[in-house]
């Protein structure tokens, strides 16, 4: 039965006639009553008994979800995954997240409203709605008002529906055939769509690549290359004194650059090693020692390094009682500022490295002067 009808369309000349017909047709219970008018008519929603659209609720839920997504994302990025201190603010500053949360809320909400209405509620895409191809369509969009009795089930009786419409005052009646609801998302269609997108990307990418390669003068955006910048060790017109490099602001310390021990070695004696004695710290100290100390002080810290003989230098024998009695701070001071012929190492070692090597020197001293108790402690 290919001529199965989908709906019967009744045309009315005035909106009043349409409104009066609605209750009669709804009472007849022949099928879903749907109205098609050139402009919105007040009160037609109530007359048709349209259910409340669920779109508002969907938009609210998605809007809240958008806010939470934006918050979660920003929190994860700026407080967990890659925390960077900006402007002295805490990494998890909710104030900074609010504008993005607002935008994403709006984004989620509008997309839900638009796409939800079109795809979920109106069930688009649907290109073959029978009313669109009806003869009455032209006048529906211009000056006439149509009511359709649409099939709810297989038992739709189009003859009875036409009769009911005429009885309700319809000037003309048109029976519409069932729409072609065959699925259009066939594998062929999907393949062709994806193929087209791929080809389009390929062509565009190759085109832009060759354009930039062959016409390098036409760089699309080079503002970042052209911007004025400061170079270390170079003159600059930006600052009054004409230097590119500037001394730090008085009274400030850059992060990770706490002032090193200055003053006399005696004054540094009170400094306390801030690092714990852990395996990692000793490993780091050992590395630093072998890189920067061992060549003069020797692997056992006894002053017998490989360079000693070649240059006739006399590095300190750190196993001597004098150095074993040194407090940590005095060793640290010597590392930072140098002593006698020993150069300062402040520029080569970070603060943790300096203290780690102090720990390691202590370990070397104890290893060379171990007592029986030490052996007992070390025994597993």
């Amino acid at each position: 039965m290919s001529k199965k009808s989908y709906a019967v369309l009744g045309l009315f000349d005035t909106p009043d006639a349409l409104m009066h017909a609605i209750p009669k047709l709804r009472a007849a219970k022949l099928g879903t009553v749907e109205a098609y008018t050139p402009y919105p008519i007040h009160g037609i929603d109530e007359a048709l008994g349209l259910r409340r659209s669920p779109l508002g609720g969907m938009v609210l839920v998605m809007g809240v979800l958008g806010a939470l997504t934006a918050f979660g994302f920003q929190y994860w990025i700026s407080a967990i995954d890659y925390p960077i201190i900006t402007g002295g603010k805490s990494a998890a500053s909710w104030e900074a997240f609010v504008p993005i949360m607002f935008e994403v809320t709006v984004l989620f909400a509008t997309f839900t409203a638009g796409l939800g209405m079109l795809l979920l509620l109106n069930r688009l895409p649907f290109f073959g709605h029978p009313v669109l191809s009806s003869k009455a369509m032209k006048s529906i969009t211009r000056d006439r008002y149509a009511l359709a009795l649409e099939a709810e089930s297989e038992t739709f009786d189009s003859a009875a529906a036409a009769q009911a419409l005429e009885a309700a005052g319809a000037a003309e009646v048109e029976v519409l055939p069932a729409p072609d609801r065959s699925p259009f998302l066939t594998s062929d269609y999907i393949l062709r769509t994806l193929g087209s997108i791929f080809v389009a990307c390929l062509v565009a990418g190759l085109g832009i690549y060759s354009l930039i390669k062959w016409f390098p003068l036409l760089a699309p955006m080079k503002y970042m290359q052209d911007q004025p910048r400061l170079n270390a060790q170079k003159a600059s017109t930006f600052f009054k004194d004409g230097h590119g490099m500037q001394p730090p602001v008085p009274g400030t310390v850059a992060r990770g650059y706490l002032p090193t021990a200055t003053g006399t070695q005696e004054a540094a004696a009170t400094l306390v090693n801030p690092l714990p004695r852990t395996k990692e710290v000793f490993a780091q100290g050992r590395k630093v020692y072998s890189n920067r100390c061992e060549v003069c002080h020797g692997a056992l810290a006894n002053g017998a390094g490989s360079l000693t003989a070649a240059y006739g230098a006399k590095p300190a024998n750190l196993q001597a009682q004098q150095f074993r009695d040194y407090p940590d701070g005095k060793i640290y001071w010597a590392v930072v500022n140098g002593k006698n012929a020993m150069p300062a190492h402040a520029a080569y070692l970070t603060e943790p490295q300096r203290w780690a090597v102090v720990h390691y020197v202590r370990a070397l001293q104890r290893a060379q002067n171990a007592t029986d108790e030490d052996l007992k402690v070390v025994a597993p």
Binding site: H42, G43, G56, L60, G87, G88, K89, E95, A96, V98, P99
Partner: protein
């Protein structure tokens, strides 16, 4: 027009009790606290009246039809600007007490000295009087003309009002900015915020809307204004809903920029308001002025439910009072002050405002019966 009802003695009693407390405040709690309260209530009266007048002018500006049936209510509320004028003139006495820019030591202040002319009492008073004159002209054209139209039924008023409305918008912008910058932000003259006038506008418009909705529902409870249906209520509710978001948008934008830049002269404003008990008030303000009304009005049914709308309107008005308290009272220094002086001022001014509005609600017809668009407005449907 309904017959004159006797004034409820409880209102008169409240005003009398409040007046005693107000006088007592000056002598017992000191002039600073007295004037802070006085300025608070002046600003509240003035912003409520201005916000209502803005609703009226907005209707004429955009030729809105739906609001014609309810227009008489903001028109009546706008007459609150008349008693606000003497209150404001008295409030000028507060200027040398409360406003640092007008005190003699300002002449030696590196920042204030340069603005001495603007902040000095003579020019301050001149600006205030100028604002009052502008407001009275606007009242005469928009409200006076509308009341006359009840009798004359002359549609020429609509054309006149429509022509005047754009000029009123300029006047309104000027006056609300003067209120914001002179009366409120003038308490902390070393602090600047360009957006502050817009922030006060948002609060004023919201309070006008809330008072309109509340008066409308009150009159409907008396069996008046029966032509106003759910559709009109919905529009009022939607305006309220939208402007809670606008208020918080402006308020947060101002806060966030200052928080980000972290300039000492700017953040001090928030530093004060986020310390001690003020912190709780700040969060309460955010909850009462935005979060609560936003979620209370978010659904379609809520916007046209009279019960819900009445509660939200009361909430909005209280939040506006809290907002102004939050803006003005930190100028006294220290933790938030609340006690019998504030209660007496609230009794006195609230009672006075209610008395005035009760009287105003009998002015003219309940709807602008002479307006040719009234029918169209009554037929308005969503």
């Amino acid at each position: 027009m309904s017959q004159q009802k006797p004034t409820p003695p409880i209102l008169l009693g409240a005003v009398a009790l409040g007046a005693a407390g107000v006088l007592g405040t000056y002598f017992a709690a000191g002039p600073e606290r007295f004037w802070a309260n006085w300025v608070l209530w002046f600003v509240l009266m003035f912003t409520l009246g201005l916000g209502s007048l803005f609703i009226v002018a907005l209707e004429h500006l955009v030729s809105a039809k739906w609001s014609v049936p309810v227009r008489r209510i903001p028109e009546r509320l706008a007459t609150l600007l008349l008693p606000a004028i003497p209150v404001g003139l008295i409030a000028l006495c507060a200027v040398p007490v409360l406003y640092p820019g007008s005190r003699p030591e300002a002449a030696h202040h590196p920042i204030l000295a340069g603005k001495a002319f603007w902040l000095s009492l003579p020019f301050f008073s001149a600006r205030t009087v100028f604002a009052f004159v502008l407001v009275v002209i606007a009242l005469a054209v928009l409200v006076g003309g509308s009341l006359k139209q009840d009798v004359s039924k002359d549609p020429a008023f609509n054309f006149r009002a429509r022509k005047f409305a754009p000029a009123f918008m300029a006047i309104f912008a000027l006056v609300i900015t003067l209120v914001a910058f002179d009366w409120i932000s003038g308490l902390t003259p070393e602090w600047y915020s360009d957006i502050f006038g817009v922030y006060i506008f948002a609060g004023a418009f919201l309070s006008g809307l809330a008072a309109t909705a509340l008066s409308l529902l009150y009159l409907q409870g008396e069996g008046r204004l029966e032509g106003v249906r759910q559709d009109h209520l919905y529009n009022l509710g939607a305006f309220l809903f939208a402007f809670t978001v606008f208020w918080s948008y402006i308020g947060f934008a101002q806060y966030m920029l200052m928080w980000y830049a972290n300039m000492p002269d700017e953040v001090i404003y928030y530093k004060v308001r986020l310390a001690g008990a003020w912190r709780a008030i700040t969060f309460a303000l955010a909850a009462l002025h935005f979060i609560l009304p936003f979620f209370a009005l978010v659904t379609r049914d809520a916007k046209r439910d009279p019960k819900r709308l009445r509660r939200v309107a009361i909430l909005m008005l209280s939040a506006h009072v809290l907002d102004m308290y939050w803006l003005i009272f930190p100028a006294l220094g220290g933790s938030p002050r609340f006690g019998w002086p504030e209660l007496s001022f609230a009794l006195f001014f609230l009672g006075g405002i209610l008395l005035w509005i009760r009287g105003a609600m009998e002015r003219g017809e309940d709807m602008p019966v002479g307006d040719p668009f009234l029918r169209e407005g009554l037929e308005f449907r969503l």
